[in-house]
Each structure stands twice: as structure tokens, then as C-alpha cells.
């Protein structure tokens, strides 16, 4: 199995920091905004971004939820679909929501995420933030507004994002299956 590291250490940190500053440019003090991480791996990115934003903006709590898309997926019966938890403890009605996922590939998870989110109300505005954009591989017309890195990859490859909190080290790896 051939692997190649695309992002790690300082570079990883800078990328996250840049994404946070881009968010602040648009959302200001985040009073009318909320972050929603998609289960399972987007939640880790959402939490990291929440932490960094809170440090930069010196605020106590930026709304950050976790959303599971399992029941809204279109590949039911093609995959084992065991759900994760959903936890959104704020009202998303009239909020500017930033959906967060680690890797954007076919776009199907995001499509399911948009459907799943509507069960919690009608947001004012929805944006998409991803750490890795695997371009030219979309199955549905979905693009991210904020992107950490853009990569060219083929279907036979996997992209894995590791997190300090759960995997011991921040890094993005491209893996040949």
C-alpha cells in the first residue's frame, strides 16, 4: 500500500488557521452563525475550528453541532449504514450555517447532510467548508466555499485525515488502495 502525506505539522495548523480567518471575514463575531460538523470525521474538524475561532475571537461559545446523515443517504442497502449521534443544541432557524466535513469527494454525504439539517429548521444561509477537496470526482453539483487543500486523486485512492485528539497527530494522507 503506497501512501503519501499531503499535509502535516505546521502546514496543517496554518491551513486550519487560514480557514478560520476566512470564516471570520464573512461571519464576524459569529453571533448569527453556527458550525455543524458531519459525522463521523467532519465533527473533529468542526470542533477544531470552533476551538481556534473561540481563541481568536476571545468568545466563550461558538455554536457547534454534530449531524449524522445516515438516515438520509441514498446508498441505503449498498453499504452497512450504522448511525452515529446527532447533537444540535441550538436553533438553526435564521442562522448562517457552515456545514463542515473533512473530505469532499462525490458530494453525496453533503447532499444527505443538507436534507438531514432541514429537520432542525430553515437556516438563513448554508455554506460548506472542507479540509480536503478531491476535485473532478463529484457525482452531484456541490462545491465548497472554504477549502483547505485541493487535490487531484482517482477513485482507487483514499484520503485520510488524522487528528491529534483521536489519532495522535494532525495529518492528511493519500493512500493507494
Amino acid at each position: 500500500m503506497k501512501t503519501r502525506i499531503l499535509l502535516e505539522d505546521k502546514q496543517f495548523e496554518i491551513t486550519i488557521l487560514r480557514l478560520c480567518h476566512q470564516l471570520i471575514e464573512v461571519h464576524g463575531d459569529f453571533k448569527g452563525s453556527a458550525i455543524i460538523g458531519l459525522q463521523p470525521r467532519g465533527v473533529l474538524l468542526a470542533k477544531r475550528i470552533q476551538k481556534v475561532l473561540q481563541q481568536i475571537l476571545k468568545v466563550k461559545k461558538i455554536n457547534c453541532g454534530e449531524l449524522d446523515t445516515t438516515f438520509f443517504r441514498d446508498d441505503f442497502r449498498k453499504k452497512e449504514l450504522i448511525p452515529n449521534s446527532t447533537n444540535i443544541d441550538f436553533i438553526i432557524e435564521e442562522k448562517n450555517v457552515i456545514l463542515v466535513d473533512d473530505v469532499l469527494f462525490t458530494g453525496r454525504t453533503i447532499r444527505a447532510g443538507l436534507d438531514a439539517m432541514l429537520a432542525f429548521g430553515r437556516p438563513n444561509d448554508v455554506e460548506l467548508l472542507v479540509l480536503v477537496d478531491r476535485r473532478f470526482s463529484r457525482h452531484v453539483p456541490i462545491q465548497a466555499k472554504y477549502v483547505g487543500i485541493t487535490i487531484d486523486s482517482i477513485e482507487q485512492q483514499n484520503v485520510k485525515v488524522d487528528w491529534k485528539e483521536t489519532d495522535g497527530k494532525d495529518k492528511v494522507t493519500l493512500i493507494d488502495k
Binding site: F71, I82, F120
Partner: protein
């Protein structure tokens, strides 16, 4: 394990511990779903379910129906009282006629033990047993276990007593299988005449003194006296039964710890349980009903979602 080991839910007996845990964990997610402002998910939008109730039911039928609607399945309902069963049609014919209309899943309640198992061998659709005679009522056992877990956490070594008409109860048998698989300790309590002889062969202890049973347990599951199934008199009078096996507030208050009170419904208030106990804080009877929808959603979701089917 991320899928069920069975194609149908015919009884708890056929499930593994993993299956039960998978259903209960998935039900947790569905409980969150049914507490959202919009309580519906599209998972089963391509599935048609037929609810076949050859025997009366309010709670279970409504619970299944609601679970199916929350999963976006299409449903048709059937009850034996106003159907061709009365004209002499056989079970397999009735069901095959329904399946000819392209139905993917059958939820069935029937008064004959083994009806669901019989059907699963004859037809090609997923079957959920919603109670077959005095045999099994698997979704009730699963929702009972789910409700107990919510209150007590892991059920390993927890003590549960099932009180009342064990002989005619499908809830009792399914509960016993389910709780044993989850590692709980189970006793049954009731008049000797309403306790089947085989019960000890399942590794279940029998206690005929309700006070002792209550002192021992963490949870008391009070069953209804099923007069409609009793062809002979099993005890002298309801009043005597209530005196010996009815649960009242006084008895609860005397116990050294607060136990959890359950009842699968419908309650005969003043017979197996008094109103003040049924409505007390220790009772989780209405939680059981709420959890029923979540558990049934989980069962149908997991059965419909088996990979490659």
C-alpha cells in the same frame, strides 16, 4: 457487527447478543430523531409494509404504524375482523395475495404460536413478529430492555422480576430470552397455576411471594392477567389475585430501595397494579410506549437495510 444475523424478527430466541445490542444502539439514534421538530427520515421510502393484525391490538399496531411513517415507508393495514379471513381464506393465501401487490415487509400479529415462523418458510418477504399467541413478542422485549437500559445502564447482573400471568404471556417469554442474553438475572413471580412448568429449564427462578420478589429486584415488570386467554379458572377470584399479587404504593414505600416499575399495557388498574403506582415517578410505563416507536424503527430499518438484499 454492523448488521443483523437474521432475515426476519420472529423471536428473541433467534437473535444473538450482538443483534440485540445493535438494535438497541440504533434505537437510541431513532429516539433522537423522533424528538426533532421534523420527526421523519427518508430511509425506507422505497419499502412497502403490510401490517397484518389477525388479533386485536391498539398500542402495538399504532406504534408500528407510526414507526413506519417516521421512516417514510408506504403502509397498508389489515385486520382480520373485516377481511376475507372470515370467508375461510388460509393465512398463506391471504399473505400471498397481499405480496402480489408488491409488499416488501410484513408485520404480523396472530393468535397461533409459531404463525410468524410458519409464514417465514412459505413466503418471500421480511417478517416482523408483532406477537404470536402466547409464544413471543420480540419488539416488546426489545423496548423493555431499551427502557431498562435508559434507567439502569448496562443490564449485566441487574435483577428483574416478571410478575403475573406468565403462562399466557408472550411478553414474559421474549423478555426472559432478551434479558438473559444481556446478562441480567430474571425471576418470575405469580400464582403457581400461572407459571409454566418448563420455566425452570430456562434457568429462571420462581418466587411465589411478591414481597420477597420486590425486595430482591431492581425492576418489576407487572403483567396483565390475560382473562381472554384463560379457558379455565387459574385462581379463585380477581380480588384474591390482587390481594396476593397486586402492587400498591404501600408495598413500594416499604422497600429498602426505589425499584423501577414497568407494565407492557394495557393496564388493568386496581388488579395487577394500583393507579398511584402506575402514575408514580418510579413507573416508566409511558416511557416504554415512547421507546416502542424508536425500537420498532430500528428493527425495520436494520431488517430492510441488510446489505445485498
Amino acid at each position: 457487527m454492523s448488521h443483523l444475523s437474521v432475515n426476519h424478527l420472529l423471536g428473541i430466541k433467534d437473535l444473538t447478543k450482538n443483534d440485540i445490542e445493535l438494535i438497541l444502539n440504533t434505537a437510541q439514534n431513532f429516539k433522537e430523531v423522533i424528538n426533532r421538530p421534523i420527526k421523519k427520515v427518508p430511509s425506507l421510502r422505497d419499502i412497502t409494509v403490510a401490517n397484518l393484525f389477525f388479533e386485536n391490538s391498539t398500542r402495538t399496531r399504532l406504534s408500528f404504524e407510526l414507526a413506519q411513517k417516521r421512516l417514510s415507508a408506504d403502509i397498508i393495514n389489515f385486520s382480520a375482523s373485516n377481511s376475507s379471513v372470515k370467508k375461510g381464506e388460509t393465512l398463506v393465501d391471504t399473505v400471498n395475495n397481499i405480496l402480489a401487490m408488491k409488499v416488501d415487509m410484513i408485520v404480523m400479529r396472530h393468535s397461533s404460536p409459531g404463525a410468524a415462523i410458519f409464514l417465514s418458510k412459505k413466503i418471500n418477504a421480511k417478517i416482523v413478529n408483532a406477537g404470536d399467541g402466547a409464544h413471543e413478542h420480540p419488539t416488546q422485549a426489545l423496548l423493555d430492555a431499551f427502557s431498562m437500559q435508559e434507567k439502569l445502564g448496562d443490564l449485566k447482573n441487574k435483577k428483574i422480576v416478571i410478575v403475573g400471568d406468565i403462562l399466557h404471556s408472550r411478553v414474559a417469554l421474549s423478555n426472559i430470552f432478551c434479558l438473559q442474553k444481556l446478562g441480567a438475572k430474571v425471576k418470575v413471580c405469580g400464582p403457581q397455576t400461572l407459571i409454566p412448568k418448563y420455566i425452570t429449564s430456562l434457568g429462571i427462578e420462581v418466587e411465589t411471594d411478591l414481597h420477597k420478589a420486590l425486595e430482591w429486584c431492581d425492576v418489576a415488570n407487572m403483567l396483565r392477567i390475560q382473562l381472554e386467554r384463560q379457558d379455565i379458572k387459574y385462581f379463585p377470584s380477581l380480588r384474591e389475585y390482587t390481594m396476593l399479587y397486586g402492587l400498591n404504593k404501600e408495598m413500594l414505600d416499604k422497600l429498602s430501595k426505589k425499584i423501577v416499575i414497568m407494565h407492557p399495557g394495557p393496564i388493568n388498574r386496581g388488579v395487577e397494579i394500583t393507579s398511584d403506582v402506575a402514575d408514580s415517578k418510579q413507573s416508566i410505563i409511558l416511557e416504554q410506549v415512547e421507546n416502542g416507536v424508536a425500537v420498532r424503527m430500528a428493527v425495520m430499518y436494520l431488517l430492510a437495510g441488510r446489505k445485498g438484499d
